[in-house]
Structure formats: C-alpha cells, structure tokens
Amino acid sequence: MALSREQIAQRVAQELKDGYYVNLGIGIPTLVANYVPEDIEVMLQSENGLLGMGQFPTEDEIDADLINAGKQTVTMATGASIFDSAESFAMIRGGHVDLTVLGAFEVDSMGNIASYMIPGKLIKGMGGAMDLVAGADNIIVTMTHASKHGVSKLLNQCTLPLTGKGCIKKVLTDLAFMEIKEGKFHLLERAPGVSIDDIVKLTEGELVIPDHVPEMLF
C-alpha cells in the first residue's frame, strides 16, 4: 500500500537525530514536526528568520509579527532566536542546517530537482527553495512516486525547469525510500505491502535493486 501523507512524514521523522536543526518545507514536510520521536529534540528553522519554531498559537497568542516561511502564525520554542533574512540564508547556504525536507515535482538520477515552476502555469516563484537545495548537504525530498496517471516523477532527466542541480541524494516517495548516487536511484526501503515490481514500473530513472529491500517500519 502506498504511504499516506502522514506516513511519509512519519518515515522522514525516523531520520531525525537529537540536536538536529531542521528546515521543513511547505506541505508534507511540515507534517514531520508532528512525528518527532519523544526521546529526541530538534529545532525547526524557518527561513523568514526564526530558529526554534514552536506550534501554532492559541487564539490569545496570535501575533502578526510572528509567522513562519509559509506565512502562518506560529509561536517560538524555548531557546529560539530571531534574525534577518541575510543571516537566515547565511545559515542555510553555509550548510549549518542539519536536515532539510522539501517537496518536488520531479527528481532525476543525477540528483537534479524541479519543484517550483510548471511552464504555462502561473509561476509564483522559488521562494527559499533554491537556497535550501543548494545549501544543505542532507536533504530528503518527499513526493509521490508517480502522477495520478502513472507517469513516473523519478526520471533520467528532469523535464521541468530545475530548482537545483545535482544536489539531491535522498528521496522518499509514497512507495519507496531511495538514495541517489553515481547517476542511479538506489532502492533502500519499500512501503509496506508495495512490491519491487510496483516500484520498478513507476521509476523511469535507472534503479539499483539490492538483494534484500526491507519494508519500512513504523
């Protein structure tokens, strides 16, 4: 069975380590915050200038001066710090964030990612995504493995304009967890109940399948 959005977030959360500074993108990545294991602590970086993002405010706590990169009202966690946008991206570009999780339209076997623009549709802009993919060493891309029509999003070569070139090493889809290296997708884990055949069928880029591909554990 393909993973739900929540399960994808849950699986990503298993990659968190105690003391990690993490930037979570909009959409599924945001859900990761709900599954941080109880015995560890992470700090969330929001690229508009907040390290130590807390939960949403109560009605009483709402503060127009305190939002996240998705422009949602938030709170600060204990030990948070505030800084300007240049400092925030110095942090990101300088590789100080331990893990970045973001979505994508397409990823290819060279580690390219396309996530911000579909030509012909309205182009809203890349926001901080290009900085995030260029700056982080440790990125997990979360996405669906294929379109509703069964067209793979894990390609030999991205067809959409790129957000970043050669910067993606880990991809988690609703079907599989993969590593990208040496121009290939390496299958690490499959979603519970999903066969290797299912994955192969929906992966356009070259896929390396080890003898044993464990099911994800939740």
């Binding site: 890349m126 290009m130 260029a134």
Partner: protein, 236 residues
C-alpha cells in the same frame, strides 16, 4: 536636537523626492513587517514606472499589491509572488515585468548593495533558469554563479522601536528583510511603532544603527495576518 534627528512629521515629507521610474527596496516578508503606510503614501503620490525590490508583492488590497491597480509598478524583483489576482493578470498580460530571485540571494543582494560589495558568488540557482546570462565559476570543485548587488533610490522599512537618531529595533519575524533594505537605499525611510528618547536603547541591542536611516516617522499599523493558523487553547 542636532543633525542626527531623523524624525519627520508627515508621510508626504517621508517620501519626498520619490520620482517616476525610481527603484524602491522594501522590507517585509509576506504581509509581516511591511512598511504599510509608506506604501500607501506611494499610492497616494501616484508615482509611476517604479522598480520594486521586495520578497513578495502583497495581496490585492494590502501591501505592495495596492500599487498594482494604477500600474505604478513597472518591474518587481521578488522571490515569491502572485498572491493577488491583479498581479497575475498584469504578469500574464506582460504588463508587469517580474524578476524572480531566490529568497536568500535576494537578501544577500540587498546586503551586498549596502555593504559596497558589487557582486558575490553563490551556488544557489546554479543550473537553473536563475543562472541564465550569469557567469558560472568553479571554486573548490563546486559550481557557483555570480550575483550582482542591488541598491535603491529609496528603501522603505518598518521597524518596531527607534530613537530620534534612527537607531532601530525590530520585533520577532517582522525583522526579515527590513535591516537589509535599510542599508541599501540612497534614501532610507523608516516607519516605526514607537519613538523613544536617544540613549534609551541599549547600544548592544540596536539592530540597525542610525547611520543607515535618513528619515523616520511614527506610524500606526494594521498588521494584517495572511495565514491565521491557531491551535485550540486547551492543547499542550
């Protein structure tokens, strides 16, 4: 008060000298920390043909979006736009030029502009549409692109507190692009929620020294919220 007193008493005075076809750098992220009254004054003045540098372009009836109906903006340099219908219409119709710039690159370009750095290299955008027409260069085995600095004829900034010398303190994430914009304007105009006596702000805790500020005005702010997200009061 000496020549360091930056306080002006009207928004008209605050934006005096803004002319058609100038470049305006604006602080703010989304609708957070935007110089809302300075933007309104630009609308009132009716200045046209502006190049606006700002992370976003407001919404239809608030923030920089209010400059769209009268076609006051010729070009916008931003990282994320299109939160407003009129923006979409003008962009699609080719009436509004849009230069999409990665958010971190945009912040760094403002900082560089204020700091006398004419250009810098960044890996952000290498191999993407952003790199088109830009120099590519390798350092230590990695590819980077050259990004030029940005400066503006005017910078419009929203701070929280200031003293009359223009020393500024920002509040929470309303800081964002504001301190960077403040450094990059030939004329930097700041509106604030409170003006305190000179000497009241702790010198160690000033975010923007007054040297960057030309004019300062006390304003009152709507502070509209774009995405009002809440949790129930009883949750942890």
């Amino acid at each position: 008060m000496a020549g360091f007193d930056k306080v002006v008493s009207s928004y008209e005075e605050a934006m005096a000298g803004l002319e058609d076809n100038m470049t305006v750098i604006a602080g703010g992220f989304g609708l957070c920390g935007i110089p809302e009254n300075l933007i309104s004054e630009i609308k009132r003045k009716g200045t046209k043909g502006l190049t606006v540098v700002s992370n976003n372009c407001g919404v239809d009836d608030f923030g920089l979006g209010i400059l769209l109906p009268d076609r006051q903006i010729k070009k916008i340099v931003a990282s994320y736009v299109g939160e407003n219908a009129e923006f979409e219409r003008q962009m699609m119709a080719g009436e509004l030029e849009v230069e999409l710039t990665p958010q971190g690159t945009l912040a760094e370009k403002m900082r560089a502009g204020g700091a006398g750095i004419p250009a810098f290299y960044t890996a952000t955008g290498y191999g993407t549409p952003v790199a088109e027409g830009k120099e590519e260069r390798e350092f230590n085995g990695r590819k980077y692109i050259l990004e030029p600095a940005i400066t503006g004829d005017f910078a419009i900034v929203k701070a929280w507190k200031a003293d009359r010398y223009g020393n500024l303190v920002f509040r929470k994430t309303a800081r964002n692009f504001n301190p960077l914009a403040a450094t990059a304007g030939k004329i930097t105009v700041v509106e604030v929620e409170e003006i305190v006596e000179v000497g009241e702000l702790d010198p160690d805790q000033i975010h923007t020294p007054g040297i960057y500020v030309n004019r300062l005005i006390l304003g009152s702010f709507e502070k509209r919220i774009e995405q009002r997200t809440v949790r129930p009061a009883h949750s942890a």
